[in-house]
């Protein structure tokens, strides 16, 4: 036991040595973030507390205007649904990626990344065409007996498009987590008396939790701030939080109120990250338990 501790400690020392120099490498990125990210955020928070009057007036107004809370809840629910749906679709896809031959895997990866290389606007307009009244989706649903279902302008229509946009952000973290799982563990579970499906549930799924958490939080947070897709495919009655913020800034010139909404959104995002890191902490420690302890 003593030897392992000593080894771990000396490894730790080796790891710390280049850290002093490494500080210089992160300087450009830090400077950029300070000027173009933290300063504007600080301004937004400041304005939300000072315009038009100093105090929490903007925040209390959010609670009482009858719209903001509703939009915030709708945004959170939409983000949850999008993240959950993406997870359900991406999980078997990522699992298949770990099972196929390298060449097939390359093809599957390209298929996932394809949307990345297509303009977001182009994809949104494509969805617009698909979802509009008389479009292919309505006609197809009509064929199988669901008449008059128009997705355009509904939360469902927005959700479908957002799931498609978000898929790569779920598939890639899931795949990288699943790739780490030793397939022999399922053989081991089988030999110990677990049928295939139970081995999967008791061994594989828990080991893929880190990938699920990082994919889920990534998609959830990105969906919270989505603007173009809900603006194009949704409707004013079903608007999400970024549309409301945009409207306040560009039409009402209510910088204070928009700032307050933005700050609340940021708070929610940080809260989600905190919760996920709470769940993900022990799971992440599994990988390198020897050196970290």
């Amino acid at each position: 036991m003593t030897t392992t501790t000593i080894k771990a400690r000396s490894q730790g020392r080796e790891a710390t040595r280049p850290r002093g120099r490494a500080a210089w490498f992160v300087l450009p990125a830090t400077a950029l973030l300070l000027v173009f990210f933290f300063y504007p955020i600080a301004t937004i928070v400041w304005r939300s507390l000072t315009e038009p009057d100093a105090g929490f007036g903007n925040y209390t107004a959010l609670l009482h205007d009858g719209l903001s809370v509703k939009v915030l809840v709708r945004t959170l629910v939409t983000a949850l649904i999008v993240a959950a749906t993406t997870l359900v679709i991406a999980y078997p896809y990522a699992y298949a990626m770990t099972k196929v031959r390298p060449r097939t895997r390359a093809v599957l990866t390209v298929i996932v990344l394809l949307p990345f290389w297509t303009s977001l606007m182009a994809r949104n307009f494509a969805w617009y065409m698909l979802e509009q009244r008389g479009g292919p989706i309505e006609r197809f649903l009509g064929l199988i007996g669901f008449d008059g279902v128009v997705l355009l302008g509904t939360v469902a229509g927005v959700t479908v498009a957002m799931v498609q946009v978000m898929l790569p952000f779920m598939v890639l973290p899931l795949y990288s987590a699943m790739e780490q799982i030793d397939p022999r563990l399922l053989d081991a579970a089988g030999s110990l008396g677990a049928p295939r499906w139970r081995a999967f549930g008791r061994v594989y799924v828990p080991l893929s939790v880190p990938g699920m958490l990082s994919g889920f939080s990534l998609v959830f947070i990105m969906t919270l701030g989505f603007y173009i897709t809900p603006a194009l495919l949704g409707s004013p009655q079903n608007s999400l939080i970024s549309q409301v913020i945009s409207e306040r800034v560009s039409k009402l010139l209510d910088f204070g109120g928009a700032g307050a909404l933005g700050t609340v959104l940021l708070g929610v995002t940080l809260l989600v990250l905190f919760i996920v890191s709470r769940f993900g902490g022990p799971a992440r420690a599994l990988g390198g338990a020897v050196t970290h302890d």
Binding site: R184, L185, L192, A194, A289
Partner: protein, 380 residues
């Protein structure tokens, strides 16, 4: 039911089992048949790619059988899923569940069997004591050394008292000291549990020290099955002779009627020859410790074979000298000489090598055709 008939059927029976992977032309396992007795320690020994691990995977049910059948206690299990075979498996890379503590890993198979909680706790504790890991019950596998992880894997594979324990190169990932230590523990567990152990390795020392019987695998087939001493002293094929331990081979042609192996101008006495080998190219295989070294042939026992050679090197290995030899035709040989007695020759000098013909094994030459040029001392 008659208990005797039940007794007779106990054990594992491999009947003409083959495995042909799709997209390959040579079977990985080629019509292997083997009976493994109840409680036996059987080792599959062979180089990588010899089919030993594939055979084990078919026993465990991870790999399907292309032809033949596997019976456990008279029941055909060839088509059963792994979880219904009631076998324990230990993998080279441990395959512990990284998200479960040591206790939960060992409890896993018992939970699958719906064992009552109190009994699970008792048996897990007992089994962890058996592998001396009682103090590590709450650790995660990642916090243990390789040797400790493999002992957890052993505990997990025996805690539910499976019909047999299969081990796939379980010591392959460990350093030498740990390997020796765990080897002794595996031998002890076999004694204490009385369970059938099937052990796969490419390490001849592991095979010789642990096994009741060894099956030597080569190119998908079993070359020979036998007790360690039988395989070492009486190899039936050149492959077994060369794979298991060091040896010197004298190539020649078998003459059954005269009871000799003709090596060029030399005649080696060869009693008890296999009739099938008559007039075939044969090799007389002799282990290093059976070769005696003499200054000349005057002191050679009348009934022993002897051949002249040149000493190429002498290596002191503590308990003996390893003496490298070269015969007239260039064949290399190896003798071990006790440290206590004086060396009859130094490197570069001539020496006479003798051995008792009862300690040689005559096997068919690889080529199987006419005799190759043999070890013929020029001046003899």
């Amino acid at each position: 039911m008659n208990p005797n008939s039940q007794e007779a059927a106990r054990g594992i029976r491999i009947k003409g089992v083959s495995k042909l992977y799709t997209g390959t032309s040579h079977p990985a396992v080629d019509e292997v048949s083997l009976d493994i007795a109840d409680g036996e320690f059987m080792t599959f020994l062979g180089p990588s790619g010899s089919g030993k691990t594939t055979m084990l995977s078919m026993l465990a049910g991870f790999v399907s059988v292309s032809a033949g059948s596997i019976e456990i206690d008279g029941r055909d299990v060839s088509r059963l899923k792994p979880h219904k075979r009631d076998l324990g498996v230990v993998f080279q890379q441990y395959a512990l569940f990284p998200h479960l503590s040591v206790t939960k890993n060992v409890a896993f198979p018992l939970q699958q069997r719906k064992t009552p909680k109190a009994e699970i706790a008792r048996r897990v504790a007992e089994t962890l004591d058996l592998v001396h890991l009682g103090d590590y019950a709450d650790r995660l596998p990642g916090q243990l050394s390789g040797g400790q992880q493999q002992r957890v894997a052993l505990a997990r594979a025996v805690v539910y008292e499976p019909r047999a324990l299969l081990m796939d190169e379980p010591l392959g990932a460990l350093d030498k000291r740990l390997r020796d230590q765990l080897q002794r523990e595996i031998a002890r567990m076999h004694r204490e549990l009385g369970m059938t152990f099937i052990f796969v390795t490419h390490d001849q020392h592991e095979a010789l020290t642990l096994s009741d019987r060894i099956a030597v695998f080569n190119e998908g087939r079993i070359e020979q099955v036998g007790k360690p001493a039988d395989l070492y002293e009486r190899p039936e094929t050149l492959f077994v002779a060369e794979f298991l331990g060091e040896s010197t081979g004298f190539r020649g042609t078998v003459d059954k009627a005269a009871g000799i192996l003709r090596c060029g101008g030399h005649e080696l006495r060869a009693p008890r020859l296999d009739p099938e080998l008559d007039r075939c190219a044969g090799v007389a295989v002799v282990r290093p410790e059976r070769l005696k070294l003499h200054v000349d042939d005057t002191e050679v026992h009348a009934e022993h074979n002897h051949i002249g050679a040149t000493v190429t090197e002498i290596v002191y290995v503590g308990d003996r000298h390893q003496v490298g030899l070269r015969f007239a035709d260039g064949t290399k040989g190896l003798a071990s000489h006790p440290v206590g007695s004086p060396l009859p020759a130094m490197p570069g000098e001539g020496v006479t090598v003798s051995w008792d013909p009862r300690h040689q094994a005559i096997v068919r030459d690889h080529a199987g055709g006419p005799a190759a040029p043999a070890a013929v001392p020029a001046g003899a």
